[in-house]
Structure formats: C-alpha cells, structure tokens
C-alpha cells in the first residue's frame, strides 16, 4: 500500500514538475509570468482526447501529437500574448496571458463541452503485482514518461547549441543578441517548449484525474506554488516544489493507512488527515517558506543564474 501511495504521489509530482518547468522556462526567458501555462495542461489533455477520438491509440502513441500540437500553440501564444506587449510594463503581459488562458478555456468549452473527459492510459489500465502490492501501470508509466521528457529537456539545454542559445537568452537577452543570437526566436521557441511540457503533463494527468476546460486555473496555482517553494528561476527547485505539492495532495490523506490507524480511525483522525487539511497545511508551508526563505529553497542558485 505504501508503495502504491508513494508511486501515485511521484506520478502526480512528475506531471506537476513538467508544468512547473514550463512556467520557469518562460519566467527565465522573459521575466514574465505566463498565466496561460495551466491552460496549456488542459489543452494538452484535450489534444490527446481529440486525436484519440479520430484514431484510437494508447496514450504513449499520442505523446508525439501532443508535443507537436502544443509547440505550435506555444509559439502562437508568444505571438499573441507576449511579443506585441514585451516593451510595455510587465503587468500588460500578465493580463494578456490571463486573457489568453480564458480564451483557451472557452474555446475548448465550445468545441468539447464542459463535462470532464479522460484521455487514454499510456500503456493500459492494468495493475502490476510488485512485492505483494498491486501497482497501477499508469502510475509507473507516468513517472517513466515524465522522467524521459525531463531528461530530454536537460539534454537539449545542456548539450546542444540551440539549448545554449536558449539559456544565454534567458540569462542576458541583450548580451545574447550582441553575440549574434536571434533572441526573439529563442523566446518564441521557449514558449513552444514550455507549452509542449505542460501539454505532455495534460496527457499524463487526463487519464487518472480527467480533464475539463476550466482545469487550467487550478494547475497554474500548482505551478506558482511549486516555484515559490523551490525558488523562482530554478528548475531543480520547481521539480522539488512540484513533488512536495503532490505529496501533500496524495500522501498526506493516506497517513492513517500508512501508520496503521485504519481500524481505529476516529472522526478527529479523519478530519486531521483529510485532503482539505492537507491543502491547508500545504499553503501554511508556502507561507512559512515565504517568511523564512523568501527566495525559495533553491532561490540562491537562481539569483546567480539571473
């Protein structure tokens, strides 16, 4: 049971990490917060559902479609919500991305309806017997696919010329241009990559948790909390923050089971270890981090990067 809970938390944390990475990539590249990033998760889920409705296939086969479609959505979002306003005060981009998110939500609502939908599982809905426990194949697959995407993103940024140009643009756009890097193209590509990662998170989440057009708002708060905990600008911090959010959501309500209180659980235990209390404690933890370490856990590294 403990293994199943841990894997479920890891799977959710891995998907949140993809979303948080997308959020951080754009913050680093533009110093702007993209409030439509949560809606990219929702859009990725719906791209998977739309493709699967035309040609039924397992979720893993849908992944390339989701990545390509979301890169296009990300590029277009940069053209609509960022570039026309990049010389204006930051609040303009802030508002334009909120507007873009609302447009995406309502467009999907018109096209697909408001009812929650589920995307196909990555490899199937079965269970796997491991050490006496029954583990959902989907949980393991989500962790594996998210790990591959994170590794791919690391390889792109650390090992390729275009990755170096993306990082240089994020660290000092003017200097990058003075070295011949076409910074606007790099920023547009960053929007594309960020949308692809978030869209992939949408595919990974939309099987277990379903997806509906208004989910983006919930996801952007998760991303915001993850990077606040981890440290603005830090990818490692974003991953750690995402994992912490998932642990509070998934593992915290299961503590009575993990410590064997199931049989003797009282009303008080049920309240203390409810999902609602877990949410309260998560936000208390966020406040404590803001008070004690406002730069987040990895914020110092981010300062040096910036």
């Amino acid at each position: 049971m403990a293994l199943q809970i841990l894997l479920n938390a890891l799977a959710l944390g891995a998907a949140y990490a993809l979303l948080a990475f997308g959020f951080v990539l754009i913050v680093n590249a533009t110093s702007a917060v993209n409030f439509a990033q949560g809606d990219m998760v929702m859009a990725g889920g719906y791209v998977a559902i739309a493709v699967a409705s035309i040609a039924p296939m397992p979720g893993i086969a849908l992944l390339p479609f989701v990545l390509v479609a979301m890169i296009v959505v990300g590029l277009l979002s940069s053209l609509v919500a960022y570039f026309p306003l990049k010389s204006r005060p930051p609040v303009s981009v802030f508002v334009s991305t909120i507007a873009l998110g609302i447009i995406l939500q309502n467009t999907v609502n018109v096209l697909a309806g408001a009812a929650p939908r589920a995307a196909p599982a990555l490899f199937g809905d079965g269970q796997l017997a491991m050490g006496g426990a029954s583990i959902a194949i989907q949980s393991i697959a989500v962790i594996g696919v998210a790990a591959l995407l994170i590794a791919g993103q690391w390889w792109l940024f650390a090992r390729t010329a275009i990755g170096r140009a993306l990082r240089a643009t994020a660290q000092d756009r003017v200097m990058a241009e003075a070295l011949g890097i076409r910074a606007n193209r790099m920023i547009a590509l960053t929007f594309g990559l960020a949308a692809a990662l978030s869209g992939a998170a949408g595919l990974l989440l939309a099987n277990t948790f379903f997806v509906s057009p208004s989910d983006g708002t919930n996801y952007i708060i998760k991303a915001y909390i993850s990077v606040t905990i981890g440290g603005w600008g830090s990818l490692t911090g974003a991953a750690l923050g995402a994992l912490l959010v998932a642990l509070f959501e998934v593992a915290y309500p299961q503590i009575p089971i993990l410590i064997g209180l199931t049989e003797s659980s009282t009303a008080v235990t049920q309240v203390v270890f409810s999902q609602t209390t877990g949410t309260i404690l998560l936000y208390v933890a966020v406040l404590i981090i803001l008070f004690v370490r406002p730069q987040g856990i990895f914020g110092e590294l981010a300062q040096r990067r910036a």
Binding site: A161, R164, A165, R167, A168, Q171, D172, V174, M175, A176, E177, A178, L179, G180, I181, R182, A183, R304, R305, A306
Partner: protein
C-alpha cells in the same frame, strides 16, 4: 586604406536627453583605435550605439560596405562586430566552455579552431573550462568576455573598459592581449578611462567630452594635447 567602420554625424539620445553629438569616427582594418574620456563622457553609449543597443541613434554607420541603419544587434554581430561590454556580462550560470561555444555561429571545425585560438591567447580559460561564469575572478571574466567576442569571428572588436576594476598587473596583461588580438588581424575599438595604457597600444585615438569628440589623432598628438594632459595625464 578604406575604413572598416565609418561613422558620420552620429547622435544618440535616451528620451529627450542627448548623449552623443555629431560623432565622426573611423576604424581601419587591423587598427587599434582608442576612445578616451572620463566617466560619463559617452564612451559606453557610443559602443552600444555601434552594436544597436540602447539609445535612439541618428546619423550614418557603415561597417565595410554595409549600412548598419535598421540592422538588428544580432545581425551586426553576425556581420563581424564583436562586443565585450562594460561589466563583462558573462553568462553567470553557464560554464566557461559554454560561454565560448554559445558565441560561435560557425561549423564544428571553425568553432574548434577559434576555441583553440582563444585558449592560446588566454591559457587561464582552458584550465577553467568547467567553471561557471559567476565563479571566475574579475580578470578571468574579462578574459572570458573578450574570448567570447573572439568566438563570433569578428573583423572589429568593440572593447568597453576592459581594464576597469582590474589590478594594474592584470590591466597590463589585458592590454597585452589586445595587441595580440591585433596581430591575429582583428581591428579593435577600445573605450578606456585609463588613457596612459590605452595610448600605449593604440594606433590612433579620439577624446570624448560630454558626448562630443573634442580632439583626435595619433598617440603622440594626443599626449601633447593640452586638454588631454590636463584631464588625464596629470598636467
């Protein structure tokens, strides 16, 4: 010899504030040309204007046969203008090697040759290739900023205050490297407050005061100029 960089009637302003007035300046291939002046004279604004950074600029800027009017900063760099800015601005979260590689737009063979040239010129950098930009000393960051500009394969290097903040020993070393760059066939436009050091290596120089060129000429002419002597050479 035809000028590599030719500037005529250049003015630059930030909003209503005019920073440079009617600048005329040229750099020939293979020359070291110094732009001298006190803090706030307009040296950095001039170099930034040549790169297309910051101020609103009017006037004529030609690099080789190309007019730089309406040319983006990135395309100026691709045309052969290398830039080492004031404050170095190395990429702090990237290694020395990545700082150098990110500046090259050439194929693998040419990039490798340029990397070899930079390491030959700045052996310190070769030994620090895995260090992050922010971990370097000021002198090492200066070497990296110049080396990074070299990786773009420039015909003309714009160096803004390369000796600023360095010890006299290191500043002298950096000036020696600039002469070595000239020997590699690269022209240099050097903005410097340290007039003695700059005139020791320059072929020609211009003196800026409050955004205007007040005198120009060979190092000997400038050393003999009353204003230069009074302002920079202690009488």
């Amino acid at each position: 010899m035809t000028a590599l960089l030719n500037i005529e009637g250049l003015s630059a302003r930030y909003g209503e504030r005019i920073m440079l007035h009617d600048i005329a300046l040229s750099v020939k291939a293979g020359e070291i040309v110094a732009v001298l002046g006190a803090n706030g004279a307009g040296k950095t604004t001039l170099l930034n204007a040549i790169m297309g950074i910051g101020a609103t600029v009017t006037g004529t800027l030609r690099f080789g046969s190309t007019s730089l009017t309406d040319v983006s900063t990135a395309d100026r760099a691709r045309a052969g203008l290398g830039f080492s800015p004031e404050g170095r601005r190395v990429f702090p979260g990237m290694t020395v090697r990545e700082n150098l590689l990110v500046a090259s737009r050439a194929d693998a063979a040419k990039t490798s040759r340029r990397l070899h040239e930079v390491h030959a010129l700045f052996p310190d950098l070769a030994g620090k290739h895995a260090a992050l930009g922010w971990q370097l000393s000021g002198g090492q960051q200066q070497m990296l900023a110049i080396g990074r500009a070299m990786m773009t394969g420039p015909r003309l290097l714009l160096l803004d205050e390369p000796s600023l903040g360095l010890s006299p020993l290191l500043a002298g070393e950096v000036m020696g490297k600039i002469v070595a760059l000239q020997k590699l066939g690269v022209a240099v436009l050097l903005a410097e407050q340290n007039v003695v050091r700059a005139l020791a290596i320059a072929d020609r120089g211009y003196v800026l005061e409050l955004g205007r060129i007040v005198t120009e000429g060979s190092p000997d002419i400038l050393r003999a100029d009353r204003r230069v002597r009074q302002a920079f050479l202690g009488g």
